[in-house]
Subunit: 202 residues, 2 copies
DNA sequence: CCCATTACTGACTCACTGGTCAGTTATTAT
DNA sequence: ATAATAACTGACCAGTGAGTCAGTAATGGG
């Protein structure tokens, strides 16, 4: 009785393939990633992969989307439903969230987008609508609420979300490029938030 | 009298080739860039290109180096020799410099490094030593001088350089990815510097 | 048990590109 | 002028990898 050469597992394949693809793209970038290697790591033949994804590019897009999906949601919900003051929220959940990003799959996605974005505009649009715009919007609302409640000065600038997020971006890039040079990225973000709050508090 | 098919211009070739290569790498990234196209844009045959650069990778490194070389120097000299107070220096020349970066070739280089850095560690080291380390060091010295002179609090954090530079990084990435969504990057940096100064001034 | 269905395989094709090299032409020295 | 030199060309090669497809085998229904 020989073992069956394979099992048919239509339901699981897409996820298995995109997960393998994520690793391969993360290691090699888009252009240098080999579809054959993705197939191998997913434990699947190249032919089958092409049954689920029409082209390499479509696979790439699926990978990006799969990482993005619902990763922000927890934070967004918390922002909308929290009982905390805006200051406490920024100091607490928001800071915690930002600390986690540079070491998460999101960092890989952002790296891939920076590298390949120009040739995949629809992917950038997708990322914009589902991550950047939502995220910045939520932070903006949090700040506005702070102004309404009299926590913050109403001069609080419109670009505050981008400002708040800036050291997170630096931390991400630092980790990607200069992993071997130490930098206390958590402290960086803490200090920065301290500064911003001092600046906008009444 | 036919025109000569070509001129021998040994002196100029490397520069012509690296400039063409910069454009091509900027458009396509490393892996998707075609050496043939670089040659064509430089007005040169592929064979000649390979006389000046042994491999595509060496060409890439030459491009990165050619952009980096001496681009910081003007700023560094100014930092060391300026008569300005630290605050005035940060508000003036440093801010001006940072405003220019996101639209300059340096932004392209950083994009390429983020994309390809992992596979070219020596290039990252080179960039670290010649740009990042020097730049952050100079800013650090400027801040220290401010502390010595009694302009700034001496709690002025060690990560201040990275903090100062953060909105410049955000502006860069924004321009690369979201060119069509407007963002007043100059204002972003101005506000940020305002905040930082308010935080560290005595 | 047998047949229909379809998930799955992997050998193959073909376009493409990094890199080479034999030969050509501009330039310089004599 | 002529020969020697070296800058330069472009056709070519060999390796590679995206995408295909004819065939195989697992599964499920009758």
């Amino acid at each position: 009785m020989a073992e069956p050469r394979y099992q048919r597992r239509k339901q699981d394949r897409p996820k298995e393939i995109t997960e393998a693809a994520f690793d391969v793209f993360a290691e090699h970038g888009y252009a240098s990633a080999r579809v054959e290697e993705v197939a191998k790591r997913a434990g699947v033949s190249k032919g089958l992969l092409y049954l689920y994804f029409k082209t390499k590019e479509e696979l790439f897009k699926a990978v990006i989307r799969s990482v993005v999906i619902r990763r922000l949601d927890a934070l967004l919900v918390t922002i909308e439903t929290t009982e905390l003051s805006s200051e406490a929220f920024i100091r607490g959940p928001l800071l915690e969230f930002m600390k986690r990003v540079p070491g998460s799959p999101v960092a890989v996605v952002i790296r891939l987008l920076i590298a390949e974005g120009q040739r995949h505009p629809d992917l950038v649009d997708y990322y914009w609508e589902n991550v950047v715009s939502k995220g910045l919007g939520a932070i903006a609302r949090c700040v506005e609420r702070g102004v309404e409640r009299g926590e913050f000065r109403d001069t609080a600038v419109t670009q505050l979300p981008q400002l708040l997020v800036a050291p997170m971006m630096v931390s991400m890039i630092w980790k990607i490029l200069f992993a071997k040079r130490t930098l206390d990225t958590d402290k960086l973000m803490e200090t920065h938030i301290e500064m911003v709050l001092a600046y906008i508090k009444l």
